[in-house]
């Protein structure tokens, strides 16, 4: 395995990581960005982004991240494809072990993001890819003229439910509260769409089907009897979990696995910074991830100058 030495390594190529890469290159730091797949992260599965400024007509998630990558690459940010497996922080160097190599740097920005959370209901795992989906833009077209359930009440759930109306016949929007948590404009769009039928105060107890999803059983939060709803698809958008398992033992994580930082993106370990959705914070958006990425580089530069 080849070891390389950098000023700064950024782990993750979503909006936070690519912004950090852009700023670091412009600061002439010797930087490397490591990404597991191609740059993108969760936004690759977002059909449309209307709340990132600078795009008055909105932009697809794929195009937005493509522009961010090209902008970082214009300043010659090196991006390599590897899967970071572990991190060692003993001594002055931060050492990342990946499947393809070992990478060393004086400072580190962790922007490894998050992935969708699962329901945890029986049948979900078995029927994953067979009607259970976590990506409406990927799988929506397989459900033309069918009835599906969308689980969740936040921005992602409501936005993706609206997107699915262009394919499916009917959507049961299943939410555990009696009102949606999504941005008002999305709520208004969803609740006025005749294809979307909200099912309030309900959680999914099980997903049924042999080879394909056939139905779900929902339980009422108030304890009243549950019901079975016949659907061919179940789209799950019940929040995210950080992809930080590889950091366990190296960095303190909160009980949900998010990395704790201060407002300057500093973790408790000098020279290690975190940015974007993997960080413990209240509001996770492309716009807040981008801000985190820029701030993390600013802090990393101060750290490197003081060495």
């Amino acid at each position: 395995m080849k070891a390389s030495n950098y000023d700064l390594i950024i782990v993750g190529g979503g909006p936070a990581g690519l912004t950090a890469g852009l700023y670091a290159q412009r600061s002439r730091l010797n930087t490397l960005l490591i990404e597991r797949l191609i740059p993108g992260g969760q936004i690759l599965t977002t059909d449309w982004v209307d709340n990132y400024p600078g795009f008055p007509e909105g932009i697809s998630g794929f195009d937005l991240i493509d522009k961010m990558r090209r902008q970082a690459e214009r300043f010659e940010l090196p991006i390599i494809s590897d899967d970071a497996l572990s991190l060692t922080l003993e001594g002055p160097e931060k050492v990342i072990t990946g499947t393809q190599g070992v990478y060393k740097a004086k400072a580190l920005i962790i922007a490894c993001g998050a992935t969708h959370r699962k329901l945890g209901a029986p049948g979900e795992g078995l029927l994953s890819g067979k009607g259970v989906s976590y990506c409406a833009t990927c799988d929506g077209p397989f459900f033309r003229e069918q009835e599906v359930a969308v689980i969740g009440g936040g921005d992602t759930a409501v936005q993706e439910a609206i997107y699915l109306t262009r394919f499916v016949k009917k959507i049961y929007l299943i939410h555990r509260r009696d009102q949606l948590r999504a941005t008002r404009i999305l709520q208004e769009k969803a609740l006025s769409n005749p294809k979307i039928q909200p099912v309030w105060n309900a959680v999914v107890e099980a997903v049924q089907g042999t080879d394909q999803v056939e139905s779900i059983t929902v339980k009422r939060v108030d304890g009243s009897p549950g019901e079975s709803i016949s659907v061919q698809g179940v789209f799950v958008f019940v929040g995210i979990q950080p992809t930080t398992a590889w950091l366990q033992g190296a960095l303190p994580l909160d009980p949900q696995g998010f990395i704790q930082t201060n407002s300057e993106m500093e973790t408790i370990i000098p020279g290690v910074f975190a940015a974007g959705d993997c960080r413990q914070k209240r509001f996770r958006q492309v716009s807040t991830a981008v801000g985190d990425g820029a701030t993390a580089v600013f802090s990393a530069e101060r750290y490197l100058e003081a060495l």
Partner: protein, 109 residues
């Protein structure tokens, strides 16, 4: 879609190219509309180079070839199916890492 070492699979040639392949075969079911499919494409290309001669690697566009994905109950993409002697050895859904796919391929060799 004429990447090096990657066979374009269609409903017509699926049986001949994949089920009757003398080597294990990995099929990437994809579509142009799917972001994670584009994310995983370079990984599939790397695997095709790495396992050249040992494993046949193919890509099937589900938009143009609806029959085969229907036969395997595919309702999510990207889905990658690893076949050996016409039998499904492993079915993986979602944009997984290269090491996950490598492990699956090595098990069938």
């Amino acid at each position: 879609m004429a990447e090096k070492n990657i066979t374009e699979i269609t409903d017509e040639n699926f049986k001949n190219e994949i089920l009757e392949s003398p080597t294990p075969a990995l099929v990437d079911f994809w579509a142009a509309w799917c972001g994670p499919c584009r994310a995983i494409a370079p990984v599939v290309e790397e695997l095709a180079a790495q396992f050249q001669g040992q494993v046949k690697i193919g890509k099937l566009n589900v938009d143009e070839n609806p029959k085969t994905p229907g036969q395997y109950g595919i309702r999510a993409i990207p889905t990658l199916i690893l076949f050996k002697n016409g039998t499904v050895m492993e079915q993986i859904t979602g944009a997984v890492s290269k090491s996950t796919l490598e492990t699956a391929i090595k098990k069938t060799l």
